[in-house]
C-alpha cells in the first residue's frame, strides 16, 4: 500500500468524521473545528489519491494551497459570527429558528 493511498483513505475518514461532527455537534466552536477536519480530509484525498503511485503531482498540491487559504478565510468569518452571537445573546449554540 502506497503512502498516497494511506493518506487518501485517512482523508476519507476525516471528511466523514468532520461532516458527522458538523451535523451532530451543537457547540459552535466545536462545529468550526469539525468543519476544519472535514476540509483537511478533502485536501488529503485530493493529493493522496492523485499520488497513489507515490509520484509527485504539483497540480493538486497547488489546488490544496488555494484550498487552505479559503478554509482559513471561512474559519475566521465563522469565528467572527460566533463571537458576535455570543456578544448579543451570551449563547454558544444556535437558537431555534422562529417566525414571529
Amino acid at each position: 500500500m502506497s503512502t498516497g493511498f494511506i493518506f487518501a483513505l485517512t482523508g476519507a475518514i476525516l471528511f466523514a468524521a468532520g461532516v458527522a461532527g458538523v451535523v451532530l455537534i451543537g457547540h459552535l466552536l466545536r462545529r468550526i473545528l469539525a468543519f476544519n477536519l472535514m476540509g483537511s480530509g478533502a485536501f488529503l484525498v485530493l493529493v493522496g489519491l492523485a499520488q497513489r503511485q507515490d509520484v509527485v503531482d504539483p497540480v493538486p498540491q497547488a489546488m490544496v494551497l488555494t484550498g487552505i487559504v479559503v478554509a482559513v478565510a471561512a474559519t475566521a468569518l465563522a469565528l467572527a459570527l460566533v463571537r458576535k452571537l455570543h456578544t448579543l445573546t451570551g449563547q454558544l449554540e444556535l437558537p431555534d429558528d422562529v417566525d414571529a
Binding site: F35, A42, V45, L49, G67, L77, A78, L81, L94, D97
Partner: protein, 478 residues
C-alpha cells in the same frame, strides 16, 4: 472574433472585482455610484456577449494561453450567456434600489457595495468557468459574500441565520470539493472539456460517489427540500436588497452548476437520480407553499415561496432527455429571478413604510402605496403562473415537455403548485386592500425604491411576451 483586450467575457469578471475593490478602498458606505456605473457597463457587456453567442455558438477564453487541461478555460454557451444576462439585469435595478434603501448611518450598509461587487464577480466567474476546481473557488466567493451580506450589521437573529447559512454553504462546497478530488483521482484532470470524451458508460464506482457528493453539496446550497432549513431565516432576515439578491441569483448559481454537470461531465451518472430530484422538487413545492400560506411575517412568506419556486427547477430533470425541458428550466430561473427580486424589493418598501414585517400590518397599503402594491401584484402574477407572465410561460413549457413524454404527474404537480401560490399571494393582496386602520402611520418612502421594485416585477411579466429570443439564445449550446 473579438479583440482579446475587450473580450466581454473576461471583463464581466474583472469589472465587478475592480469596483468591489475600489469601493472597499473608498471606505464605509461609499461606492454606490461606482457600483451602478459598473453594473450598467456589465449589462451592456452581457448583452454584447449574448449576441455574439447567439450568432456564433460558443465564446471561449483560454486563461494564460495554456489551454485545458494544463490551464483554465472559460467558456460561454447559450445557458451561461442567459445566466449572465439575468445576473446583470437583476443586479442593476437592485443596486439603484439599495442606494436609496441604506441610509448613511445604517450599519448594514457600511460594506454593502464591496460585498455586492464580490458577490456579482463570483456569480459571473461561476457562470463562465469550465474547470471544476475553479468552480469550487467561485462557489466559495459567492457563498462567503452572501453570508457576509446576511450578517452585516444585524442583530442576534440575523447573525444566527448567517451562521446557519455559513455552515450549510461550507458543508455544501466541502462535499463538492471532495467530489472534485475524486474526479481528479479518476481522470487526472478537472477541465470540463477534457473530461467530456473520457466519460463513458462503464463509469467507475468512484465517479458515481463523486457525482453523488457534488450534487448533494449543490442541493444543500440550492436549499432543495429537505435541505431548505437555512434559507427562510437567511432570506427572510436579511435587509430587503440582500434578500432579493440571494433569492433571485445566489441559489440559482448552484442549481446552474448541477445542470452544467448533468449536461456535461456527469451525464452518465446523474440521470439515475432524476426522479429522486424531481420528487424532492415536488415536496419542496408543497412544503414551501404550505409554509408560505401559514407565515406570519411578510418576508418569511416570500422566503418560503422561494423554497417552493426552486422546486419547479428540479421537476425538469426527468424530462431533460427529451425536448424543451432545458428551455422550461431557464424560463423558470428568469421568471422567478425577476419576480422574486421585485417582490422582496416591494416588501422592503412596505416594511419601511409601515414599520413592521407582518402580513397583518399591510392593511391599507393599496391606498397609500399603490405603485409598490401593483409591483407586488405583478410579481405575484408571475409566481402564480398567470398569462401573459414569464411564470406562465415557464410552467406551460414544463407541462408541455412533461405531457410530450407521458409524465402527466409532473403536470399535476405544476398545476397544484400554481394554485397554492395563488393562495399565499392573494392572502397578501387581500390584506393590502383592507381599509387603512385609523391608528396606522406611514413613513414616507423614496420614490426610487418603489419604482425599481416596479421595474423588476414588470420585467418578470413582460418577459413572457419576449420569451422567444431567450429560447433562441439557449439553442447555442456547447
Amino acid at each position: 472574433m473579438l479583440e482579446p483586450l475587450f473580450d466581454p467575457l473576461v471583463w464581466l469578471i474583472l469589472l465587478p472585482l475592480t469596483w468591489a475593490m475600489l469601493a472597499f478602498v473608498l471606505g464605509p458606505g461609499r461606492g454606490a455610484w461606482l457600483a451602478i456605473a459598473g453594473l450598467a457597463t456589465q449589462c451592456w457587456l452581457a448583452f454584447v456577449l449574448a449576441q455574439t453567442v447567439g450568432a456564433g455558438g460558443v465564446a471561449n477564453h483560454v486563461v494564460g494561453g495554456w489551454g485545458a487541461p494544463l490551464g483554465i478555460d472559460l467558456a460561454v454557451d447559450g445557458l451561461s450567456a442567459a445566466m449572465l444576462l439575468l445576473t446583470q439585469a437583476v443586479a442593476l435595478p437592485l443596486a439603484i434600489y439599495a442606494r436609496s434603501y441604506f441610509k448613511s448611518d445604517d450599519p448594514a450598509g457600511t460594506w454593502f457595495w464591496p460585498l455586492m461587487g464580490f458577490l456579482i464577480a463570483g456569480l459571473n466567474a461561476l457562470f463562465v468557468s469550465a474547470d471544476l476546481f475553479n468552480l469550487y473557488v467561485t462557489l466559495e466567493l459567492v457563498g462567503l459574500a452572501a453570508v457576509g451580506l446576511v450578517a452585516a450589521g444585524g442583530g442576534a437573529q440575523q447573525v444566527a441565520a448567517a451562521l446557519r447559512y455559513l455552515f450549510a454553504t461550507l458543508v455544501g462546497s466541502g462535499a463538492y470539493l471532495l467530489g472534485v478530488a475524486l474526479i481528479y483521482g479518476a481522470y487526472g484532470t478537472v477541465s470540463i472539456s477534457t473530461l467530456l470524451p473520457l466519460v463513458t458508460n462503464d463509469t467507475p464506482l468512484l465517479v458515481w460517489i463523486a457525482g453523488g457528493l457534488m450534487v448533494s453539496g449543490l442541493m444543500l446550497k440550492t436549499a432543495l427540500f429537505p435541505f431548505h432549513f437555512w434559507l427562510p431565516p437567511a432570506h427572510g432576515g436579511a435587509p430587503a436588497p440582500v434578500s432579493a439578491l440571494l433569492s433571485a441569483l445566489v441559489v440559482k448559481a448552484s442549481f446552474y452548476l448541477i445542470l452544467r454537470l448533468w449536461l456535461g461531465p456527469l451525464q452518465t451518472v446523474l440521470p439515475a437520480f432524476a426522479w429522486l430530484l424531481a420528487m424532492l422538487g415536488a415536496a419542496a413545492i408543497f412544503w414551501g407553499s404550505w409554509q408560505a400560506i401559514r407565515a406570519v411575517k411578510l418576508k418569511r412568506l416570500i422566503a418560503y415561496s422561494t423554497v417552493a419556486q426552486l422546486g419547479y427547477l428540479f421537476l425538469i430533470f426527468p424530462l431533460l432527455a427529451g425536448h424543451g425541458a432545458l428551455e422550461a428550466g431557464v424560463m423558470q430561473i428568469f421568471a422567478h429571478g425577476l419576480a422574486k427580486a421585485g417582490m422582496f424589493a416591494a416588501a422592503g418598501v412596505l416594511i419601511k413604510a409601515t414599520g413592521q414585517d407582518t402580513v397583518a400590518g399591510l392593511a391599507g397599503a393599496v391606498e397609500r402605496l399603490p405603485v409598490t402594491m401593483f409591483a407586488f401584484g405583478l410579481a405575484g402574477m408571475t409566481l402564480m403562473g398567470l398569462p401573459p407572465s414569464s411564470g406562465f410561460l415557464a410552467k406551460w413549457l414544463i407541462i408541455e415537455a412533461a405531457l410530450a413524454q407521458g409524465y402527466w404527474i409532473i403536470a399535476v404537480v405544476v398545476l397544484a403548485g400554481g394554485l397554492m401560490a395563488a393562495v399565499y399571494v392573494l392572502r397578501v393582496l387581500r390584506q393590502a386592500f383592507l381599509l387603512t386602520p385609523a391608528s396606522a402611520t406611514l413613513t414616507p418612502v423614496p420614490r426610487m425604491l418603489e419604482w425599481s421594485a416596479f421595474v423588476l416585477a414588470a420585467a418578470s411579466v413582460l418577459l413572457g411576451l419576449r420569451g422567444v429570443e431567450l429560447m433562441q439564445l439557449l439553442g447555442a449550446m456547447a
